[in-house]
Symmetry: C2
Subunit: 279 residues, 2 copies
Protein backbone atom coordinates (compact mmCIF):
# COMPACT_ATOMS: atom_id res chain seq x y z
CA UNK A 1 0.00 0.00 0.00
CA UNK A 2 1.37 3.36 -1.01
CA UNK A 3 -0.36 6.72 -0.71
CA UNK A 4 0.30 8.64 -3.92
CA UNK A 5 -1.97 11.66 -3.41
CA UNK A 6 -3.31 13.45 -0.35
CA UNK A 7 -5.25 16.73 -0.41
CA UNK A 8 -7.25 18.59 2.22
CA UNK A 9 -10.82 18.74 0.88
CA UNK A 10 -14.00 20.01 2.54
CA UNK A 11 -12.48 19.58 5.98
CA UNK A 12 -11.48 15.97 5.27
CA UNK A 13 -8.90 14.41 2.97
CA UNK A 14 -9.02 13.19 -0.62
CA UNK A 15 -6.36 10.57 -1.14
CA UNK A 16 -5.28 8.16 -3.87
CA UNK A 17 -3.62 4.86 -2.98
CA UNK A 18 -1.82 2.18 -4.95
CA UNK A 19 -1.71 -1.45 -3.83
CA UNK A 20 -0.97 -4.92 -5.19
CA UNK A 21 -4.28 -6.70 -5.80
CA UNK A 22 -4.09 -10.45 -5.25
CA UNK A 23 -7.46 -10.97 -6.95
CA UNK A 24 -6.49 -9.07 -10.09
CA UNK A 25 -2.78 -9.94 -10.13
CA UNK A 26 -1.67 -6.37 -10.76
CA UNK A 27 -1.16 -3.01 -9.07
CA UNK A 28 -4.36 -1.01 -8.67
CA UNK A 29 -5.21 2.55 -7.66
CA UNK A 30 -8.23 3.79 -5.81
CA UNK A 31 -9.42 7.13 -4.49
CA UNK A 32 -10.57 7.48 -0.90
CA UNK A 33 -12.23 10.51 0.65
CA UNK A 34 -12.22 10.60 4.44
CA UNK A 35 -14.72 13.10 5.84
CA UNK A 36 -13.87 15.22 8.88
CA UNK A 37 -16.01 12.92 11.06
CA UNK A 38 -13.50 10.10 10.46
CA UNK A 39 -11.10 11.86 12.83
CA UNK A 40 -13.51 11.17 15.69
CA UNK A 41 -14.35 7.57 14.85
CA UNK A 42 -15.12 5.12 12.05
CA UNK A 43 -17.65 6.16 9.40
CA UNK A 44 -19.68 4.23 6.80
CA UNK A 45 -18.38 3.99 3.22
CA UNK A 46 -19.93 4.60 -0.16
CA UNK A 47 -18.22 2.70 -2.98
CA UNK A 48 -18.38 4.34 -6.42
CA UNK A 49 -17.92 2.30 -9.60
CA UNK A 50 -17.02 4.36 -12.66
CA UNK A 51 -17.90 3.90 -16.30
CA UNK A 52 -16.11 2.98 -19.52
CA UNK A 53 -12.69 4.62 -20.09
CA UNK A 54 -12.54 5.97 -16.53
CA UNK A 55 -9.84 5.55 -13.90
CA UNK A 56 -10.13 6.34 -10.20
CA UNK A 57 -9.62 10.01 -11.09
CA UNK A 58 -12.88 10.84 -12.89
CA UNK A 59 -15.17 10.57 -9.91
CA UNK A 60 -12.82 12.19 -7.41
CA UNK A 61 -12.06 15.19 -9.62
CA UNK A 62 -15.40 15.77 -11.38
CA UNK A 63 -18.40 14.61 -9.34
CA UNK A 64 -18.14 17.07 -6.45
CA UNK A 65 -19.33 14.34 -4.08
CA UNK A 66 -16.92 15.23 -1.28
CA UNK A 67 -19.01 18.22 -0.26
CA UNK A 68 -22.08 16.13 0.61
CA UNK A 69 -19.97 13.28 1.97
CA UNK A 70 -18.31 15.72 4.39
CA UNK A 71 -21.71 16.97 5.53
CA UNK A 72 -23.10 13.46 6.10
CA UNK A 73 -19.93 11.85 7.41
CA UNK A 74 -19.47 9.25 4.68
CA UNK A 75 -16.20 7.95 3.32
CA UNK A 76 -16.04 7.60 -0.49
CA UNK A 77 -14.01 4.88 -2.21
CA UNK A 78 -13.54 4.99 -5.98
CA UNK A 79 -11.59 2.14 -7.59
CA UNK A 80 -10.23 1.96 -11.13
CA UNK A 81 -12.43 0.25 -13.76
CA UNK A 82 -10.25 -2.72 -14.72
CA UNK A 83 -6.97 -4.50 -14.18
CA UNK A 84 -4.03 -2.45 -15.47
CA UNK A 85 -0.52 -2.93 -16.76
CA UNK A 86 1.28 -5.04 -19.32
CA UNK A 87 0.42 -8.35 -17.64
CA UNK A 88 -3.34 -7.81 -17.96
CA UNK A 89 -4.89 -8.48 -21.37
CA UNK A 90 -6.11 -5.47 -23.33
CA UNK A 91 -8.00 -4.58 -26.48
CA UNK A 92 -7.74 -1.51 -28.71
CA UNK A 93 -11.48 -0.77 -28.38
CA UNK A 94 -12.63 1.58 -25.62
CA UNK A 95 -15.38 -0.84 -24.56
CA UNK A 96 -13.31 -3.99 -23.93
CA UNK A 97 -10.20 -4.67 -21.87
CA UNK A 98 -8.43 -2.03 -19.81
CA UNK A 99 -10.84 0.70 -18.75
CA UNK A 100 -13.76 -1.64 -19.45
CA UNK A 101 -13.78 -4.47 -16.91
CA UNK A 102 -17.58 -4.50 -16.61
CA UNK A 103 -17.33 -5.63 -12.96
CA UNK A 104 -17.66 -9.34 -13.74
CA UNK A 105 -15.41 -12.29 -12.95
CA UNK A 106 -14.13 -13.37 -16.36
CA UNK A 107 -13.94 -17.08 -17.17
CA UNK A 108 -12.87 -16.96 -20.84
CA UNK A 109 -9.33 -16.55 -22.23
CA UNK A 110 -7.40 -14.27 -22.32
CA UNK A 111 -9.36 -12.37 -19.68
CA UNK A 112 -9.84 -14.92 -16.89
CA UNK A 113 -6.30 -14.54 -15.53
CA UNK A 114 -6.83 -10.93 -14.36
CA UNK A 115 -10.36 -9.68 -15.04
CA UNK A 116 -12.09 -10.45 -11.72
CA UNK A 117 -13.36 -6.94 -11.02
CA UNK A 118 -16.49 -8.16 -9.24
CA UNK A 119 -14.52 -9.99 -6.57
CA UNK A 120 -12.14 -7.06 -6.37
CA UNK A 121 -14.75 -4.36 -5.77
CA UNK A 122 -17.11 -6.42 -3.59
CA UNK A 123 -14.59 -8.32 -1.44
CA UNK A 124 -10.88 -7.61 -1.73
CA UNK A 125 -11.13 -3.83 -1.81
CA UNK A 126 -13.67 -3.48 1.05
CA UNK A 127 -11.56 -5.80 3.22
CA UNK A 128 -8.46 -3.71 2.50
CA UNK A 129 -10.28 -0.42 3.06
CA UNK A 130 -11.83 -1.59 6.32
CA UNK A 131 -8.47 -2.83 7.59
CA UNK A 132 -6.66 0.40 6.65
CA UNK A 133 -8.94 3.41 7.13
CA UNK A 134 -11.23 4.58 9.95
CA UNK A 135 -14.39 3.11 8.41
CA UNK A 136 -17.05 0.71 9.59
CA UNK A 137 -18.33 -2.31 7.65
CA UNK A 138 -21.49 -0.39 6.70
CA UNK A 139 -21.37 -0.02 2.96
CA UNK A 140 -23.30 1.58 0.15
CA UNK A 141 -22.54 1.11 -3.52
CA UNK A 142 -23.21 3.42 -6.47
CA UNK A 143 -21.92 3.92 -9.96
CA UNK A 144 -22.29 5.39 -13.42
CA UNK A 145 -23.10 3.66 -16.71
CA UNK A 146 -20.96 0.45 -16.74
CA UNK A 147 -20.38 1.20 -13.06
CA UNK A 148 -24.11 1.64 -12.46
CA UNK A 149 -24.54 -1.90 -13.79
CA UNK A 150 -21.68 -2.95 -11.54
CA UNK A 151 -23.29 -1.36 -8.48
CA UNK A 152 -26.72 -2.92 -9.07
CA UNK A 153 -25.19 -6.35 -9.65
CA UNK A 154 -22.90 -6.04 -6.61
CA UNK A 155 -25.88 -5.33 -4.35
CA UNK A 156 -28.20 -7.90 -5.93
CA UNK A 157 -25.63 -10.73 -5.79
CA UNK A 158 -24.68 -10.11 -2.16
CA UNK A 159 -27.68 -9.68 0.14
CA UNK A 160 -26.55 -8.04 3.37
CA UNK A 161 -23.22 -6.80 2.07
CA UNK A 162 -24.56 -3.33 1.21
CA UNK A 163 -27.13 -1.22 3.04
CA UNK A 164 -27.87 0.99 0.04
CA UNK A 165 -27.45 1.07 -3.73
CA UNK A 166 -27.91 3.68 -6.44
CA UNK A 167 -26.90 4.34 -10.02
CA UNK A 168 -26.59 7.10 -12.58
CA UNK A 169 -27.50 6.05 -16.14
CA UNK A 170 -26.73 2.36 -15.50
CA UNK A 171 -26.47 -0.28 -18.21
CA UNK A 172 -29.59 -1.93 -16.82
CA UNK A 173 -29.76 -5.03 -19.00
CA UNK A 174 -26.26 -5.76 -20.31
CA UNK A 175 -27.29 -9.14 -21.80
CA UNK A 176 -29.55 -7.34 -24.22
CA UNK A 177 -27.53 -4.31 -25.41
CA UNK A 178 -24.43 -4.02 -27.64
CA UNK A 179 -21.96 -2.88 -24.96
CA UNK A 180 -22.93 -5.74 -22.65
CA UNK A 181 -23.22 -8.39 -25.34
CA UNK A 182 -19.71 -7.63 -26.57
CA UNK A 183 -18.19 -7.58 -23.09
CA UNK A 184 -20.05 -10.62 -21.75
CA UNK A 185 -19.25 -12.70 -24.86
CA UNK A 186 -15.57 -11.89 -24.35
CA UNK A 187 -15.34 -12.23 -20.57
CA UNK A 188 -17.96 -14.91 -19.92
CA UNK A 189 -18.04 -16.85 -23.19
CA UNK A 190 -20.88 -17.56 -25.61
CA UNK A 191 -23.35 -19.25 -23.22
CA UNK A 192 -25.98 -16.60 -22.69
CA UNK A 193 -27.47 -18.45 -19.73
CA UNK A 194 -24.27 -17.75 -17.82
CA UNK A 195 -24.72 -14.04 -18.49
CA UNK A 196 -27.87 -13.89 -16.37
CA UNK A 197 -25.87 -13.95 -13.15
CA UNK A 198 -24.37 -10.60 -14.20
CA UNK A 199 -27.48 -8.77 -15.41
CA UNK A 200 -29.48 -6.65 -12.94
CA UNK A 201 -32.73 -7.19 -14.82
CA UNK A 202 -32.27 -10.97 -14.55
CA UNK A 203 -31.18 -10.86 -10.91
CA UNK A 204 -34.16 -8.77 -9.74
CA UNK A 205 -36.59 -11.70 -10.07
CA UNK A 206 -34.62 -13.82 -7.63
CA UNK A 207 -33.46 -11.08 -5.25
CA UNK A 208 -33.50 -12.32 -1.65
CA UNK A 209 -33.34 -8.79 -0.28
CA UNK A 210 -35.67 -5.91 -1.22
CA UNK A 211 -32.95 -3.24 -1.13
CA UNK A 212 -34.54 -0.14 -2.71
CA UNK A 213 -32.90 0.93 -5.97
CA UNK A 214 -32.35 4.64 -6.65
CA UNK A 215 -31.63 5.39 -10.31
CA UNK A 216 -31.20 8.74 -12.08
CA UNK A 217 -31.31 8.80 -15.86
CA UNK A 218 -30.81 11.79 -18.14
CA UNK A 219 -33.45 12.27 -20.83
CA UNK A 220 -30.91 13.58 -23.36
CA UNK A 221 -28.42 10.77 -22.71
CA UNK A 222 -26.95 9.73 -26.03
CA UNK A 223 -26.82 6.07 -24.93
CA UNK A 224 -30.32 5.86 -23.43
CA UNK A 225 -32.21 3.75 -25.95
CA UNK A 226 -29.38 1.65 -27.37
CA UNK A 227 -27.33 0.79 -24.28
CA UNK A 228 -28.95 1.76 -20.98
CA UNK A 229 -32.62 0.69 -21.15
CA UNK A 230 -34.02 1.82 -17.78
CA UNK A 231 -37.42 0.72 -19.14
CA UNK A 232 -36.26 -2.89 -18.79
CA UNK A 233 -35.22 -2.31 -15.17
CA UNK A 234 -38.54 -0.63 -14.48
CA UNK A 235 -40.40 -3.63 -15.95
CA UNK A 236 -38.28 -6.15 -14.03
CA UNK A 237 -38.84 -4.32 -10.75
CA UNK A 238 -42.57 -4.01 -11.39
CA UNK A 239 -42.84 -7.73 -12.18
CA UNK A 240 -40.91 -8.71 -9.05
CA UNK A 241 -42.35 -6.07 -6.74
CA UNK A 242 -38.85 -4.75 -6.15
CA UNK A 243 -38.69 -1.14 -4.88
CA UNK A 244 -37.28 1.27 -7.45
CA UNK A 245 -37.15 5.05 -7.62
CA UNK A 246 -36.30 5.99 -11.20
CA UNK A 247 -35.78 9.72 -11.70
CA UNK A 248 -35.86 10.72 -15.33
CA UNK A 249 -34.06 14.05 -15.66
CA UNK A 250 -35.13 15.89 -18.81
CA UNK A 251 -32.30 17.44 -20.80
CA UNK A 252 -29.39 15.79 -18.99
CA UNK A 253 -26.75 13.82 -20.90
CA UNK A 254 -24.31 11.04 -19.94
CA UNK A 255 -21.56 13.31 -18.59
CA UNK A 256 -20.23 14.12 -15.14
CA UNK A 257 -22.20 17.40 -15.34
CA UNK A 258 -25.28 15.19 -14.92
CA UNK A 259 -23.73 13.27 -12.04
CA UNK A 260 -22.58 16.46 -10.27
CA UNK A 261 -26.07 17.94 -10.59
CA UNK A 262 -27.71 15.10 -8.63
CA UNK A 263 -24.90 13.56 -6.58
CA UNK A 264 -26.09 15.32 -3.42
CA UNK A 265 -29.40 13.42 -3.61
CA UNK A 266 -27.58 10.11 -3.97
CA UNK A 267 -25.16 10.80 -1.12
CA UNK A 268 -28.12 11.74 1.09
CA UNK A 269 -29.91 8.51 0.09
CA UNK A 270 -26.92 6.42 1.10
CA UNK A 271 -26.30 8.44 4.27
CA UNK A 272 -29.88 7.88 5.42
CA UNK A 273 -29.65 4.11 4.90
CA UNK A 274 -26.23 3.88 6.50
CA UNK A 275 -27.32 5.97 9.49
CA UNK A 276 -30.11 3.45 10.17
CA UNK A 277 -27.43 0.80 10.24
CA UNK A 278 -25.57 2.45 13.12
CA UNK A 279 -25.73 0.80 16.54
CA UNK B 1 -18.54 31.66 -32.80
CA UNK B 2 -19.12 27.93 -32.56
CA UNK B 3 -20.60 26.04 -29.64
CA UNK B 4 -18.54 22.89 -29.17
CA UNK B 5 -20.03 21.56 -25.91
CA UNK B 6 -23.40 21.92 -24.24
CA UNK B 7 -24.52 20.02 -21.14
CA UNK B 8 -27.46 20.40 -18.80
CA UNK B 9 -25.99 21.19 -15.38
CA UNK B 10 -27.72 22.15 -12.11
CA UNK B 11 -30.81 23.28 -13.99
CA UNK B 12 -28.77 25.50 -16.31
CA UNK B 13 -26.29 24.78 -19.08
CA UNK B 14 -22.51 24.34 -19.13
CA UNK B 15 -21.22 25.17 -22.59
CA UNK B 16 -17.86 25.57 -24.31
CA UNK B 17 -17.47 27.95 -27.26
CA UNK B 18 -14.74 28.58 -29.81
CA UNK B 19 -14.26 31.93 -31.49
CA UNK B 20 -11.70 33.91 -33.48
CA UNK B 21 -10.09 36.46 -31.15
CA UNK B 22 -9.06 39.68 -32.91
CA UNK B 23 -7.00 40.78 -29.90
CA UNK B 24 -5.03 37.55 -29.71
CA UNK B 25 -4.98 36.72 -33.42
CA UNK B 26 -5.99 33.11 -32.93
CA UNK B 27 -8.95 30.85 -32.17
CA UNK B 28 -9.82 30.69 -28.48
CA UNK B 29 -12.12 28.56 -26.33
CA UNK B 30 -14.02 29.54 -23.24
CA UNK B 31 -16.48 27.85 -20.92
CA UNK B 32 -19.77 29.52 -20.06
CA UNK B 33 -22.27 28.35 -17.45
CA UNK B 34 -25.73 29.85 -17.77
CA UNK B 35 -27.80 29.41 -14.60
CA UNK B 36 -31.52 28.59 -14.78
CA UNK B 37 -32.34 32.26 -13.98
CA UNK B 38 -30.88 33.26 -17.37
CA UNK B 39 -33.97 31.82 -19.04
CA UNK B 40 -36.07 34.55 -17.41
CA UNK B 41 -33.73 37.47 -18.05
CA UNK B 42 -30.12 38.62 -18.09
CA UNK B 43 -27.89 37.73 -15.14
CA UNK B 44 -24.55 39.06 -13.85
CA UNK B 45 -21.34 37.25 -14.80
CA UNK B 46 -18.37 36.00 -12.82
CA UNK B 47 -15.19 35.68 -14.90
CA UNK B 48 -12.74 33.01 -13.78
CA UNK B 49 -9.05 33.17 -14.73
CA UNK B 50 -7.22 29.87 -14.42
CA UNK B 51 -3.64 29.11 -13.48
CA UNK B 52 -0.51 27.79 -15.19
CA UNK B 53 -0.99 24.82 -17.57
CA UNK B 54 -4.79 25.13 -17.48
CA UNK B 55 -7.26 25.45 -20.34
CA UNK B 56 -10.92 26.45 -20.10
CA UNK B 57 -11.66 22.88 -18.95
CA UNK B 58 -10.06 22.80 -15.50
CA UNK B 59 -12.44 25.18 -13.79
CA UNK B 60 -15.59 23.93 -15.49
CA UNK B 61 -14.90 20.26 -14.74
CA UNK B 62 -13.22 20.43 -11.31
CA UNK B 63 -14.31 23.45 -9.25
CA UNK B 64 -17.96 22.53 -8.75
CA UNK B 65 -18.87 26.22 -9.01
CA UNK B 66 -22.00 25.65 -11.09
CA UNK B 67 -23.97 24.51 -8.05
CA UNK B 68 -23.60 27.82 -6.21
CA UNK B 69 -23.87 29.84 -9.42
CA UNK B 70 -27.23 28.16 -10.14
CA UNK B 71 -28.44 29.01 -6.66
CA UNK B 72 -27.39 32.65 -6.87
CA UNK B 73 -28.22 33.22 -10.54
CA UNK B 74 -24.71 34.02 -11.78
CA UNK B 75 -23.25 33.17 -15.15
CA UNK B 76 -19.67 31.83 -15.10
CA UNK B 77 -17.19 32.51 -17.90
CA UNK B 78 -13.86 30.66 -17.94
CA UNK B 79 -11.40 31.53 -20.74
CA UNK B 80 -8.26 29.66 -21.71
CA UNK B 81 -4.97 30.87 -20.18
CA UNK B 82 -3.07 32.01 -23.29
CA UNK B 83 -3.15 32.34 -27.05
CA UNK B 84 -3.10 28.93 -28.75
CA UNK B 85 -2.06 27.36 -32.02
CA UNK B 86 0.97 27.28 -34.29
CA UNK B 87 0.88 31.02 -35.00
CA UNK B 88 1.29 32.00 -31.34
CA UNK B 89 4.80 31.78 -29.90
CA UNK B 90 5.47 29.02 -27.38
CA UNK B 91 8.15 27.77 -25.03
CA UNK B 92 8.87 24.24 -23.79
CA UNK B 93 8.62 25.32 -20.13
CA UNK B 94 5.25 25.00 -18.38
CA UNK B 95 5.55 28.53 -16.96
CA UNK B 96 6.09 30.50 -20.18
CA UNK B 97 4.19 30.63 -23.48
CA UNK B 98 1.08 28.60 -24.19
CA UNK B 99 -0.78 27.80 -20.98
CA UNK B 100 1.10 30.64 -19.22
CA UNK B 101 -0.06 33.98 -20.61
CA UNK B 102 0.06 35.68 -17.19
CA UNK B 103 -2.81 38.01 -18.21
CA UNK B 104 -0.54 40.84 -19.36
CA UNK B 105 -0.27 42.65 -22.70
CA UNK B 106 3.14 41.59 -23.98
CA UNK B 107 5.38 44.20 -25.60
CA UNK B 108 8.56 42.15 -26.18
CA UNK B 109 9.32 39.81 -29.09
CA UNK B 110 8.29 37.13 -29.91
CA UNK B 111 5.30 37.48 -27.60
CA UNK B 112 3.85 40.88 -28.46
CA UNK B 113 2.13 39.68 -31.64
CA UNK B 114 -0.35 37.45 -29.78
CA UNK B 115 0.07 37.60 -26.01
CA UNK B 116 -2.44 40.29 -25.05
CA UNK B 117 -4.40 38.25 -22.54
CA UNK B 118 -5.21 41.25 -20.35
CA UNK B 119 -7.08 43.03 -23.13
CA UNK B 120 -8.68 39.75 -24.11
CA UNK B 121 -10.10 38.87 -20.70
CA UNK B 122 -11.01 42.42 -19.59
CA UNK B 123 -12.42 43.82 -22.85
CA UNK B 124 -12.80 41.60 -25.91
CA UNK B 125 -14.25 38.60 -24.12
CA UNK B 126 -16.76 40.52 -21.94
CA UNK B 127 -17.96 42.43 -25.01
CA UNK B 128 -18.45 39.17 -26.88
CA UNK B 129 -20.14 37.47 -23.93
CA UNK B 130 -22.46 40.39 -23.31
CA UNK B 131 -23.45 40.54 -26.98
CA UNK B 132 -24.08 36.79 -27.20
CA UNK B 133 -25.53 35.48 -23.95
CA UNK B 134 -28.35 36.62 -21.64
CA UNK B 135 -26.06 38.47 -19.25
CA UNK B 136 -25.88 42.01 -17.92
CA UNK B 137 -22.76 44.19 -17.84
CA UNK B 138 -22.39 43.53 -14.08
CA UNK B 139 -19.15 41.63 -13.70
CA UNK B 140 -17.11 39.97 -11.04
CA UNK B 141 -13.63 38.54 -11.59
CA UNK B 142 -11.86 35.72 -9.77
CA UNK B 143 -9.02 33.34 -10.42
CA UNK B 144 -6.46 30.87 -9.16
CA UNK B 145 -2.68 31.27 -8.84
CA UNK B 146 -1.53 32.97 -12.09
CA UNK B 147 -5.23 33.66 -12.65
CA UNK B 148 -5.60 35.06 -9.15
CA UNK B 149 -2.89 37.57 -10.07
CA UNK B 150 -4.79 38.20 -13.31
CA UNK B 151 -8.07 38.82 -11.47
CA UNK B 152 -6.56 41.24 -8.94
CA UNK B 153 -4.76 43.18 -11.69
CA UNK B 154 -7.87 43.25 -13.92
CA UNK B 155 -9.94 44.81 -11.14
CA UNK B 156 -7.22 47.20 -9.95
CA UNK B 157 -6.42 48.52 -13.44
CA UNK B 158 -10.07 49.12 -14.38
CA UNK B 159 -12.05 50.94 -11.69
CA UNK B 160 -15.75 50.49 -12.34
CA UNK B 161 -15.39 47.57 -14.71
CA UNK B 162 -15.91 44.93 -12.00
CA UNK B 163 -18.20 45.02 -8.98
CA UNK B 164 -16.33 42.27 -7.12
CA UNK B 165 -12.98 40.50 -7.13
CA UNK B 166 -11.55 37.44 -5.40
CA UNK B 167 -8.68 35.02 -5.72
CA UNK B 168 -7.49 31.59 -4.62
CA UNK B 169 -3.76 31.36 -3.92
CA UNK B 170 -2.89 34.30 -6.19
CA UNK B 171 0.63 35.24 -7.25
CA UNK B 172 0.34 38.43 -5.23
CA UNK B 173 3.61 40.14 -6.15
CA UNK B 174 4.77 38.76 -9.51
CA UNK B 175 7.58 41.32 -9.82
CA UNK B 176 9.26 39.78 -6.81
CA UNK B 177 8.90 36.00 -7.28
CA UNK B 178 10.52 33.58 -9.78
CA UNK B 179 7.37 32.73 -11.80
CA UNK B 180 6.54 36.39 -12.31
CA UNK B 181 10.11 37.56 -12.88
CA UNK B 182 10.59 35.01 -15.63
CA UNK B 183 7.27 35.79 -17.31
CA UNK B 184 7.48 39.56 -16.99
CA UNK B 185 11.06 39.65 -18.30
CA UNK B 186 9.92 37.69 -21.34
CA UNK B 187 6.60 39.42 -22.02
CA UNK B 188 7.37 42.95 -20.81
CA UNK B 189 11.14 43.23 -21.25
CA UNK B 190 13.92 43.98 -18.74
CA UNK B 191 12.65 47.36 -17.41
CA UNK B 192 11.33 46.47 -13.97
CA UNK B 193 9.56 49.81 -13.64
CA UNK B 194 7.23 48.72 -16.44
CA UNK B 195 6.36 45.60 -14.46
CA UNK B 196 4.69 47.64 -11.73
CA UNK B 197 1.60 48.20 -13.86
CA UNK B 198 1.02 44.42 -13.76
CA UNK B 199 1.65 43.72 -10.08
CA UNK B 200 -1.26 43.83 -7.63
CA UNK B 201 0.98 44.83 -4.72
CA UNK B 202 2.25 47.83 -6.72
CA UNK B 203 -1.21 48.79 -7.99
CA UNK B 204 -2.85 48.80 -4.54
CA UNK B 205 -1.12 52.04 -3.50
CA UNK B 206 -2.65 53.97 -6.37
CA UNK B 207 -6.04 52.21 -6.53
CA UNK B 208 -8.77 54.72 -7.35
CA UNK B 209 -11.51 52.35 -6.15
CA UNK B 210 -11.62 50.59 -2.78
CA UNK B 211 -13.04 47.34 -4.15
CA UNK B 212 -12.72 44.82 -1.29
CA UNK B 213 -10.37 41.91 -2.03
CA UNK B 214 -11.32 38.40 -0.95
CA UNK B 215 -8.38 35.99 -0.98
CA UNK B 216 -8.20 32.36 0.17
CA UNK B 217 -4.78 30.80 0.65
CA UNK B 218 -3.99 27.23 1.63
CA UNK B 219 -1.50 26.82 4.47
CA UNK B 220 0.02 23.67 2.94
CA UNK B 221 0.34 25.21 -0.53
CA UNK B 222 3.66 24.06 -2.00
CA UNK B 223 4.14 27.46 -3.72
CA UNK B 224 3.19 29.67 -0.77
CA UNK B 225 6.53 31.12 0.31
CA UNK B 226 8.41 31.10 -2.99
CA UNK B 227 5.77 32.23 -5.48
CA UNK B 228 2.52 33.45 -3.90
CA UNK B 229 3.48 35.76 -1.00
CA UNK B 230 0.09 36.81 0.41
CA UNK B 231 2.07 38.52 3.17
CA UNK B 232 3.15 41.14 0.61
CA UNK B 233 -0.46 41.73 -0.42
CA UNK B 234 -1.47 42.01 3.21
CA UNK B 235 1.27 44.61 3.80
CA UNK B 236 0.37 46.58 0.66
CA UNK B 237 -3.33 46.66 1.63
CA UNK B 238 -2.50 47.67 5.18
CA UNK B 239 -0.24 50.49 3.97
CA UNK B 240 -2.85 51.79 1.54
CA UNK B 241 -5.89 51.20 3.73
CA UNK B 242 -7.31 48.92 1.04
CA UNK B 243 -9.96 46.45 2.27
CA UNK B 244 -8.75 42.83 2.22
CA UNK B 245 -10.16 39.63 3.65
CA UNK B 246 -7.38 37.05 3.59
CA UNK B 247 -8.51 33.60 4.70
CA UNK B 248 -5.60 31.33 5.52
CA UNK B 249 -6.85 27.75 5.29
CA UNK B 250 -4.66 25.40 7.30
CA UNK B 251 -3.76 22.15 5.57
CA UNK B 252 -4.99 23.04 2.07
CA UNK B 253 -2.70 22.77 -0.96
CA UNK B 254 -2.66 24.44 -4.40
CA UNK B 255 -5.09 22.02 -6.09
CA UNK B 256 -8.68 22.23 -7.28
CA UNK B 257 -9.65 20.29 -4.12
CA UNK B 258 -8.82 23.52 -2.27
CA UNK B 259 -10.81 25.62 -4.73
CA UNK B 260 -13.82 23.28 -4.62
CA UNK B 261 -13.80 23.38 -0.82
CA UNK B 262 -14.26 27.17 -0.69
CA UNK B 263 -15.75 28.11 -4.06
CA UNK B 264 -19.24 28.47 -2.54
CA UNK B 265 -17.96 31.29 -0.31
CA UNK B 266 -16.45 33.10 -3.28
CA UNK B 267 -19.54 32.72 -5.45
CA UNK B 268 -21.66 34.06 -2.58
CA UNK B 269 -19.25 37.01 -2.19
CA UNK B 270 -19.60 37.91 -5.86
CA UNK B 271 -23.36 37.31 -5.89
CA UNK B 272 -23.84 39.70 -2.97
CA UNK B 273 -21.84 42.47 -4.68
CA UNK B 274 -23.52 41.92 -8.03
CA UNK B 275 -26.99 41.88 -6.46
CA UNK B 276 -26.31 45.35 -5.01
CA UNK B 277 -25.52 46.43 -8.54
CA UNK B 278 -29.00 45.52 -9.81
CA UNK B 279 -31.38 48.33 -10.66
Amino acid sequence: MERIESHACFGGRQEVWRHASAVLGCDMRFGVFLPPQAEAGPVPTLYWLSGLTCTEQNFVTKAGAQRAAARHGLALVAPDTSPRGEAAADDPAYDLGQGAGFYVNAVAAPWAAHYRMHDYVTAELPALVEATFPVTASRGVAGHSMGGHGALVAALRHPGRYRSVSAFAPICAPSRVPWGEKAFAAYLGPDRDAWKAWDACELIAGARERLPLLVDQGGADEFLDAQLRPDLLEAACAAAGHPLVLNRRAGYDHSYYFIASFIDDHVAHHAAALAEDRP
